[in-house]
């Protein structure tokens, strides 16, 4: 039985294993939220499941799956430049990439950015700003 959660893990692994992205976001890659809160200053990557659909095949099988991930850099900074640079690195890693989903028991078909995400968040406690930059990335894959 295919486990779609392993595809989630594979996407996070691609991001976590990249030295350039780690340099920009040294606090790590997290699913949904950074555990233990986000003490400022900080720079990390968030991956979250945004949308998922499956194309059914005969006999209850799945022809392919489309999963929309929110992938964004979250960086506490007076400038949005570091977050923008991290988003560019995320884009270089994911957009058009054929991800290795072998360990997840899937075969990747495509990975595309559907939309950009970019917004500031004022941190009232620290009188500065968290910058959120990234995008929605759709991974198409099928169970091997």
């Amino acid at each position: 039985m295919a486990d779609s959660g392993l595809v989630d893990a594979a996407v996070m692994e691609v991001l976590a294993n990249d030295a350039a992205l780690s340099a920009l976001c040294p606090d790590g890659v997290y699913w949904g939220i950074r555990p233990g809160g986000s003490p400022a200053p900080g720079a990390f990557v968030i991956v979250a499941l945004f949308d998922h659909r499956e194309e059914p095949a005969l006999a209850g099988d799945t022809l392919y799956e489309k999963t929309n991930y929110l992938v964004k850099a979250v960086i506490f900074s007076t400038s949005k430049t570091p977050a923008r640079q991290a988003a560019a690195r995320i884009h270089a890693l994911l957009h058009g990439a054929l991800l290795d989903l072998t360990a997840a028991g899937y075969t990747a078909m495509d990975c595309r950015r559907l939309d950009r995400v970019a917004y500031p968040e004022i941190d009232l406690m620290n009188k500065a700003t968290w910058h959120h930059h990234g995008g929605q990335y759709e991974v198409m894959s099928y169970p091997t």
Binding site: I33, R34, A48, N68, L70, K72, V74, Y119, E121
Partner: protein
């Protein structure tokens, strides 16, 4: 400075010809789009968390004017200023996907319903239907 101007002529005539192939379809589409938009807005409201109710109350459906009888437009907007923070999360809160997935479902439902109506009129629908 050089400028480029792109003109596409004949779109309205093409739309009029398509409308003639499917009589009454535009009128049906208006009703259909409105009902799907209202249902989509309800699904978005239901997916949002609620503390004061302000976010849910700020989900609005509106029909945009069109100067063409063969084009219809509806929009769903969320006017609460913190809608982004709820949808995409903050440094301290998780994202809550509500608008994005429900809009996708609404668009696909409308497209599927329109295709069914076109087919019911004996026409063939092809191409990339995403």
């Amino acid at each position: 400075m050089l400028g480029t101007k792109l003109m596409i002529a004949g779109v309205e005539r093409l739309l009029a010809e398509l409308e003639a192939l499917t009589p009454g379809l535009t009128a049906e589409a208006v009703t259909l789009q409105k009902s799907i938009a209202v249902e989509t807005a309800a699904a978005i409201r239901a997916a949002y968390p609620s503390a004061s109710g302000r976010l849910r109350a700020s989900v609005q459906v509106s029909r945009l004017d069109s100067n063409s009888p063969a084009r219809i437009f509806s929009t769903i907007t969320v006017t609460a200023p913190y809608a982004n923070y709820v949808e995409f999360g903050t440094a301290h809160t998780t994202p809550t996907p509500a608008f994005v997935p429900n809009m996708r479902i609404g668009r696909e439902r409308f497209a599927a319903a329109m295709i069914a109506r076109v087919k019911a009129r004996g026409l063939v629908v092809g191409g990339d239907l995403r």
